[in-house]
Symmetry: C2
Subunit: 186 residues, 2 copies
Amino acid sequence: MLEMAVLGLLKARPMHGYELKKHLSDELGFFRSFSYGSLYPTLKRLEATGAVQTEHPKDETTRRKNVYRVTPRGEALLDELLEESGAVATEGREAFMLRLAFFRYVKPETRRRLLEGRRGYTQERLTKLRDSMKRLRERMDAYSLQLMNYRVDEAEKDIRWLDDLLENERRLGSEALPTRPAPEGS
Amino acid sequence: MLEMAVLGLLKARPMHGYELKKHLSDELGFFRSFSYGSLYPTLKRLEATGAVQTEHPKDETTRRKNVYRVTPRGEALLDELLEESGAVATEGREAFMLRLAFFRYVKPETRRRLLEGRRGYTQERLTKLRDSMKRLRERMDAYSLQLMNYRVDEAEKDIRWLDDLLENERRLGSEALPTRPAPEGS
DNA sequence: GTTAGCATGTAAGGAGTTACATGATTTT
DNA sequence: AAAATCATGTAACTCCTTACATGCTAAC
């Protein structure tokens, strides 16, 4: 997850670690904002494998503040990471959301595949939830029932949302990719 | 999380590991259904610390199928785990949901504290999300915007839901705890 | 009698966190 | 000149997963 987030953010604009950390919470609307204890090692690792680069100038003038940029190798890695629909349950929701945040970097067909994959998973989950409710309703206390209803509502809402997103993809077809919400003024 | 889930489920009814695993997905409407690779070691650990007990009969008749039950020591541990409102962000959503599933074991005042804590956290998050949107709207692509809107809607919905739950708590006051949705027929 | 599912476990590893440690730069 | 905050890093640990390994029991 962190690798994907880092590469995705750096692709838009080179940054140093501290800056990156803020954007992880802010820009991605992120619930979980990774700690420095994982962020810096991740950057090191990505650098070691050649996915990102930094100009740490050996001369004594500008030390500290390591600005990282994505290399072609890193772009390829990001592509791979974004395309995995895998492990939908474990990785779950947040991994999907993260991919969505970087959808502009994803091929239209892959976008559709990811959206449909997520929809399928959610639909399946919804079915299971309803099954459980039918089987257990009598034996459940009020709080568990609240929880179940919450989950069902959420799943239903997610499906409608995913359908909207899919509908949008279809409308766009293979025409121009919308990387901005429409220039308007500028 | 797993410890809390295990203790909570075993409190309702003694079970063996395999059975427990099913209830973790089913009964709790759980997205994440822990693997055996963590479930069994957790049971061992809880047994080692005296939080659960199992009658593994040393005589050769009935081997396999270790039925675990919660001890008083385990009940105390569960109480502790349920009362922590802590680490709201990291632990997050699912930990809260899990506590909600076991709310019938929680003192009314603690229930209110947990609900209010969660509400406060969600409200704060909502504020931050709206801030981010104001600051970044122009620079965001359509997908990020979708994501942000989703998050905002979700937070708003959560707050309404939490308010409902709080209202219910107030209505019940200190009168009878509702462990069942009302007998009706029986 | 063999396939499917019940039942339990271990070892290695992944992906993060917390706590600690340090030092430069900006603000007050 | 002190306090805040920018900026980077490491070590130990937590909590879980995957993959492996084993054997019983029920159903077909």
